[in-house]
Amino acid sequence: MSAKYRYTLGDRTYRFKDLATLMARATPARSGDRLAGVMAETAEQRVVAQMALAELPLRQFLQEPLVPYEEDEVTRLILDSHDREAFAPIAHLTLGDFRNWLLSSSATPAALTALRSGLTPEMVAAVSKLMRNQDLILVAQKCRVTTAFRNTIGLPGRFSTRLQPNHPTDDATGIAASILDGLMYANGDAVIGINPATDNLAQCKRLLQLLDEVIQHYQIPTQACVLTHVTTALEAMAQGAPLDLVFQSIGGTEATNRSFGVDLGLLAEARDAALQLKRGTLGNNVMYFETGQGSALSANAHHGLDQQTCEARAYAVARHFQPLLVNSVVGFIGPEYLFDGREIIRAGLEDHFCGKLLGLPMGVDVCYTNHAEADQNDMDNLLTLLAVAGCTYIMGVPGADDIMLNYQTTSFHDALYVREALGLKPAPEFEQWLLRMQIMDEQGSAGLHRGLAPGFAPALARVLDADSDVGESHPGGSGK
């Protein structure tokens, strides 16, 4: 037999042909791995694979790349940047012992920070496969990752949001209305980030201008982003557009990234261009990345890996560019990758854990599509679990309904729920602004003033006056 990994249980010997197969068989069930044909064939085989994985020395991951070094620049990045000194304290451990160590009191926040550069994404993905949801939460909670641009993201006791004011035609008034709504609900400290309706350069520049003017006019200690392709961002910067953060979707293999039209060199070029603009006041984290389990398979670029391992490898790409923000868009890609609420919840916790352990400012787009077996209760569950785990940020859209991308993510209200239930606060600089603008009051973590903040009253009066001038005086807001 050519099987490299074997495990004998009773009178039966299970065989796994290589490390990638062993990892895939050990992965909790999900539809994307079934679609890829890499999932465990039986429930017993899955646990046996986990048992075999638990006995594997961590060092094996440095000797057996899951995607060949010669073929894949992500593998080269992972192995070439591995810090043997940081790895030394755990170099003697098996994966099973590594899990025990992570859960022990030896794994303090300081120890976990020191360990980061010694961990590869494959080690982190593998140990997550041995962990229950509560383990993923407990260990993530001990990871401290702080980043900064115009405010400080990720401090303990803080919980941030991306204000996502998308509009199906990029209508400036529609976008402004959603920004106002979000700010009045104390959202937007991670970033105000628009997914544009098209990747059109002129349109992206106008949106960047709009966001920059709003942030400057109201002196909001936050940053803006138009989530366009990195090449569009480069052109916009070359033409003098006011760009704070460079966005890009990334994956865990070179071929996945190629399907997104990027490589490491291009990302480095974009980061350099953004750094030269020197627009950050408190820090220089200028990148924003999104990821999601299933992207490699959908690009047919998964090299036989399970989707969670591919996802963790994307975090090595992200880590290299010292991002301000990274989030997995966990339920967006659809039920062929994560079938139901149970699978989405598990994946959300895994992604957050893996990102945090590798040192990323990890947020999660807690979301689902209408053809997934999921609903708002599943999202409430994942949201609460992530908040307990110390998730850095979530999305905020009006009423959880993204009218441009046609999916449901977390709402402005959802963020306030988390802050109220767990006593969390927004980023400190943003919190001060909310108090100064009389949006939030001093009482409690999610205390909002009753009325419209005085600083925004002239703007609202302006638009409502304009409406009555054109004879649209009927009261709005009657719902859909």
Binding site: D171, V214, Q408, G451, K480
Partner: protein, 277 residues
């Protein structure tokens, strides 16, 4: 407004005339007021029902206009909705009996080479198909009958548990020059019954999405059947003239309008937050 109400209304809710986003919902404490919560639940319930409601094929066939002979009722390889949602690859292949049916048709009609095969597919919203295909096909029939060139039509195919690319295999078996797929789109919370139209020149298995033209969001609140058919006729005639579909065939029916809308909204900078409105 009642001062004793536990619901705090938002004065900016009047901005909802400017966007379909769910802004200004108000709050009970920091949570959604009951009425807003139930509005959302209703929208989600409709979108969910749209995904799971089976296509009523007999009712659909009765409503459709006569079209290229007796309609053919077909199935994809995905036998039920759960399989369909998890195996997109099976939704792109015909079930064996359906394939045999089409092969039989091809044999019985050896000299037939239709200009167009229309394939109606439930997709992710049977409601879109149930509600809008009859109107769409009646309108299409009208414009085709008045068109300069004559259109030889293959029998209408109605497919359950199908995806867009299934039209490639069907079109090829029918020896059609072009295939038009009318399919229920992934339902959004505010658009549970949106129909998508995909046109593919010289359909055969393995065509990519870059080789198709798409008209999306066909529903009364989106693109009307009449406007959709105007665009469709343009694409049909141009695909026949240029012998292609996809990125090489641009929909120029409303280029001017599109550019104007995009430029008009952004360049006038009508953003009230900055005091330019």
């Amino acid at each position: 407004m009642n001062d004793n109400s536990p619901v705090i209304e938002n004065p900016w809710q009047r901005l909802r005339r400017h966007t379909s986003a769910r802004i200004g919902l108000g709050r009970a404490g920091i949570s959604l007021p009951t009425s807003r919560l139930l509005e959302f639940q209703l929208a989600h319930a409709r979108a969910r029902d749209a995904v799971h409601l089976p296509l009523d094929v007999p009712a659909l066939l009765a409503a459709l206009p006569p079209w290229g002979g007796d309609a053919l009722r077909l199935q994809s390889r995905a036998g039920d909705r759960t399989t369909y949602l998890q195996r997109p690859d099976w939704g792109r292949q015909l079930a064996d009996p359906s394939r045999q049916r089409l092969q039989q048709w091809a044999e019985d009609n050896r000299h037939s080479q239709p200009d167009l095969a229309v394939v109606v597919v439930d997709g992710l919203s049977s409601r879109a198909v149930q509600n809008h295909t009859a109107n769409l096909l009646r309108a299409l029939q009208g414009v085709l009958s008045r068109a300069r060139e004559s259109w030889c039509l293959a029998p209408l195919c109605v497919v359950e548990q199908g995806r867009v690319a299934l039209g490639d295999e069907i079109g090829a078996l029918l020896r059609a020059n072009a295939v038009l797929i009318c399919i229920g789109e992934r339902p959004g919370l505010s658009s549970p019954d949106s129909l998508g139209l995909y046109l593919t020149w010289q359909p055969r298995r393995g065509r990519t999405d870059a080789e198709r033209n798409c008209i999306s969001n066909v529903r009364p609140e989106g693109l009307s059947c009449r406007d959709a058919v105007t665009r469709l006729l343009y694409l049909l005639q141009e695909s026949r003239r240029q012998r292609l579909t996809g990125v090489g065939l641009k929909d120029r029916t409303d280029d001017g309008g599109k550019t104007l809308t995009a430029a008009g909204t952004a360049e006038t900078g009508s953003n009230f937050l900055l005091g330019r409105e």
